[in-house]
C-alpha cells in the first residue's frame, strides 16, 4: 500500500514538467522540493532524536553561501562547489553539535537559536564577502555532464528532484538501520539507551551532522536553482517555517516532511491574495496540532492504515 503510494508520487513528480503548462508552477514545485530537503534535515534531529535545532536555517545558509561564493568568487563549477558546501555545513555542524549537544531540552533550542542568529548576522554584515543585504546574484547554472545540460527550468527541476529522492532514500536507510534505531532509542529513553551500551553523545552528534548535511544540500540546491541568494533565507523565521511544515506533515515520519511542505506551499499559493494572512491560520493550527494531533498528516495516515490492516 505504502510502496504503491510512493511509486505513484514518484511517477507524478517525474511527469510534472509535462503536465503543468507554465514554468511558474514548476518553479513553485521545485522550490517546495528544496525546502522539503531542509525539512528532512530538521526531521532527522527533531523527529529521530527529539532535539529542536532552531539554527537549522543557518546551516541551509552555510551550504547556500558556500556554493554561491565558490562559484562566483572562486570560479568553481557547481558540482565540486556543492560537495564543498555540504562539507562546510557538516563540519560546522560537527563543531556546533559537539558543544550544543551537551545542553538539554530548552537550553539546546535556545543555544542553537543563538548560533543560528549569529551566523545570519555574519551573512548580513560581512558585506565584502556576502554582499550584505543584497546578497549574491548571477550564480551560474551547473555545467553539463556529457549531453545533459542543466541551464533550463526543466533540467534544473529534475536535478532538484534527484536531490530530494536521494534525501528520502538516505533518511529511509538511516531510519531502518541500526544507527536510526539508536536515534529513536535515545529519544524514547536516554538512560535506558545508555544502559544498553549506546554511546549517546556520539549517536546524537551523528544525527546532528546528518541533519546539517541535508540542510547544506538544500542550501546548495537553493543557490543553484534560484541563481541568487540573500541573508533573509537563513534567519530564525525560516527555521520556524520549516518547523511548521514538519509538524503538519508529521514529525519523525518518512513522508511527513515532503507532505507537509507540499501541502502548505500548495495552500499558500492557492490563497494568492491571502499570502500575508496565511499565518493567521497556520499559527493557531500549529498550536492545535501539537495539542490534539502531534502525529501530523503522515503519522495520522500510518495509524489509519495500521488500523485497517488490523481489521
Amino acid at each position: 500500500m505504502r510502496r504503491v503510494l510512493w511509486i505513484i508520487a514518484a511517477a507524478v513528480a517525474v511527469a510534472i514538467p509535462f503536465l503543468v503548462p507554465k514554468t511558474f508552477y514548476l518553479q513553485i514545485v521545485a522550490g517546495a522540493y528544496i525546502t522539503a530537503i531542509a525539512v528532512y534535515g530538521l526531521n532527522v534531529i527533531l523527529g529521530y532524536t527529539g532535539l529542536l535545532n532552531l539554527g537549522h536555517a543557518a546551516f541551509f545558509g552555510i551550504g547556500a553561501y558556500a556554493v554561491a561564493l565558490l562559484e562566483t568568487k572562486a570560479g568553481w563549477p557547481f558540482w565540486p562547489a556543492l560537495l564543498a558546501g555540504c562539507a562546510a555545513s557538516v563540519v560546522l555542524g560537527a563543531m556546533v553539535g559537539s558543544v550544543s549537544l551537551r545542553t538539554r531540552g530548552n537550553y539546546f533550542a535556545i543555544f542553537t537559536a543563538a548560533v543560528g542568529v549569529m551566523i545570519a548576522i555574519v551573512f548580513t554584515n560581512w558585506q565584502e564577502l556576502t554582499g550584505g543585504n543584497i546578497g549574491i546574484v548571477n550564480i551560474p547554472p551547473p555545467p553539463s555532464i556529457g549531453p545533459l545540460a542543466f541551464d533550463g527550468d526543466v533540467p534544473k527541476y529534475y536535478l532538484v528532484l534527484g536531490a530530494l529522492a536521494l534525501t528520502i532514500l538516505i533518511c529511509r536507510l538511516v531510519r531502518h538501520s541500526l544507527v536510526g534505531r539508536t536515534f529513536v532509542a535515545i529519544a524514547d529513553n536516554e538512560d535506558l539507551a545508555r544502559a544498553a551500551g549506546i554511546d549517546v553523545a556520539r549517536v546524537r552528534l551523528t544525527a546532528f551532522m546528518l541533519s546539517t548535511f541535508l540542510a547544506g544540500l538544500a542550501g546548495g540546491m537553493f543557490a543553484m536553482y534560484n541563481g541568487n541568494l540573500g541573508p533573509d533565507q537563513t534567519g530564525l523565521d525560516i527555521t520556524f517555517e520549516q518547523l511548521l511544515y514538519l509538524v503538519i506533515g508529521g514529525i519523525g515520519t518518512i513522508a511527513g516532511p515532503l507532505v507537509g511542505t507540499l501541502v502548505l506551499v500548495g495552500i499558500s499559493h492557492e490563497l494568492q491574495g491571502m499570502q500575508q494572512y496565511r499565518f493567521l491560520i497556520f499559527g493557531p493550527l500549529l498550536v492545535l496540532l501539537v495539542r490534539f494531533f502531534p502525529l501530523g498528516i503522515a503519522g495520522g495516515f500510518s495509524r489509519l492504515t495500521a488500523r485497517w490492516a488490523a481489521r
Partner: protein, 286 residues
C-alpha cells in the same frame, strides 16, 4: 571620557528595557519552565496598543501605557489558559512549537492590522536635558526611572505580599503549593499576566526612542533569552543583573569594537556561557 559616560547612559536605558522584558520571561520560566518564544511578540503588541492609545484614542502617554499593560495582561492570561496549560505534561519541544505558532499569529496579526512599516511613537517628553556635559532626552531618563520603579514594585509584590509568595511557592514546588491550598493554575495565569504586562510597559517606554514595527519582537526575544541564561534561568534578580551587563557590553562593544556586530554580542555571550556551563550560570540543582 565624555563618550564613556554617554555610553554608560545609553547602556542604562537599554539595560532598563532588557530588564523589564527579561524579567517577564524569567518569571514564566521560573514558575512553569516554559520558554515563551512568543514573549517578544507580546512586547511588540504592547507597543502597538500604546501607540494607538496615544495617536488614535488620544488618551495621553501614561494612560496609554496603563491600557497596554491591561490589554497585554489579558492576552497573557488567554495564552496561558488556551495554549500553554494544556501542554504542561507534553514534551518540552511541543511547548516551543506552540509558542512559535503564537508568534506567527501575532506577527501576522500586527502586519495585517497595522501594516509592515516602521512607525514613530510620539512622546510628550522629547526635550533634551543637559547634565554635567552629558546629553539625554527626557524620555531616556523616564525609561531608567520607570523601569526602576516597576522593578522595585515587582520585588515588593513577590517578597512582601501573600499573593506574591504564592508565585514563589509554585516556582519552588508546584505539587507542594497545591497541597497547602494554592491554586497553581491561578498562579500560572497571574504570572503570564504580569509577564505580558511588563513587556507592554517596556515596549511603551522604549517605543518613543526607537521605532515600532511588527518584527520588533524578534531580536528582543533572543536577547532576553541570552539574559536569562546569563542570569540563571528563572532567577528574577539574575535577569535584572544580566540585562544591565548585556546592555553595557553592547553599548561599549558597539562604540569601541564594531557597531555592525553589536547585536551579535548577546548571542556570543550566550554561546560562550552554554559552551562552558551547559546548564547555564547559577543553575539551580536539577
Amino acid at each position: 571620557m565624555h563618550l564613556f559616560f554617554q555610553e554608560l547612559l545609553n547602556g542604562l536605558v537599554v539595560g532598563s528595557l532588557y530588564a523589564l522584558v527579561a524579567l517577564g520571561l524569567a518569571l514564566v520560566y521560573g514558575t512553569m519552565q516554559i520558554p515563551n518564544f512568543a514573549h517578544g511578540h507580546l512586547y511588540m503588541l504592547g507597543a502597538y496598543v500604546a501607540f494607538f492609545g496615544v495617536t488614535v484614542a488620544h488618551v495621553g502617554y501614561w494612560p496609554a501605557m496603563l491600557l497596554a499593560i491591561v490589554v497585554l495582561a489579558l492576552v497573557g492570561v488567554v495564552l496561558e489558559r488556551l495554549v500553554f496549560r494544556p501542554l504542561r505534561n507534553a514534551p518540552e519541544v511541543n511547548t516551543i512549537i506552540a509558542a512559535v505558532g503564537v508568534l506567527f499569529f501575532l506577527q501576522t496579526l500586527a502586519q495585517v492590522w497595522f501594516g509592515g512599516d516602521y512607525r514613530v511613537f510620539p512622546t510628550p517628553y522629547d526635550k533634551v536635558v543637559h547634565f554635567a556635559g552629558l546629553v539625554a532626552t527626557q524620555q531616556q531618563l523616564i525609561v531608567i526611572a520607570a523601569a526602576a520603579v516597576l522593578m522595585v514594585a515587582l520585588f515588593w509584590f513577590l517578597k512582601r505580599t501573600l499573593t506574591g509568595a504564592t508565585i514563589e511557592a509554585v516556582a519552588q514546588n508546584r505539587a507542594g503549593a497545591a497541597l497547602v491550598g494554592i491554586d497553581p493554575n491561578r498562579v500560572s495565569m497571574m504570572v503570564f499576566a504580569i509577564s505580558a504586562g511588563l513587556a507592554a510597559a517596556a515596549a511603551t517606554l522604549i517605543a518613543s526612542i526607537s521605532l515600532i514595527s511588527p518584527s520588533m519582537g524578534f531580536t528582543v526575544i533572543l536577547k532576553a533569552f541570552a539574559i536569562i541564561v546569563l542570569g540563571g534561568m528563572g532567577s528574577v534578580p539574575g535577569a535584572i543583573i544580566g540585562a544591565y551587563i548585556l546592555a553595557f557590553a553592547e553599548s561599549f562593544g558597539g562604540t569601541y569594537i564594531s557597531s555592525n556586530y553589536q547585536d551579535a554580542i548577546a548571542f556570543g555571550v550566550l554561546v560562550l556561557i552554554l559552551t562552558f556551563k551547559p546548564t547555564g550560570l547559577f543553575a539551580k540543582g536539577t
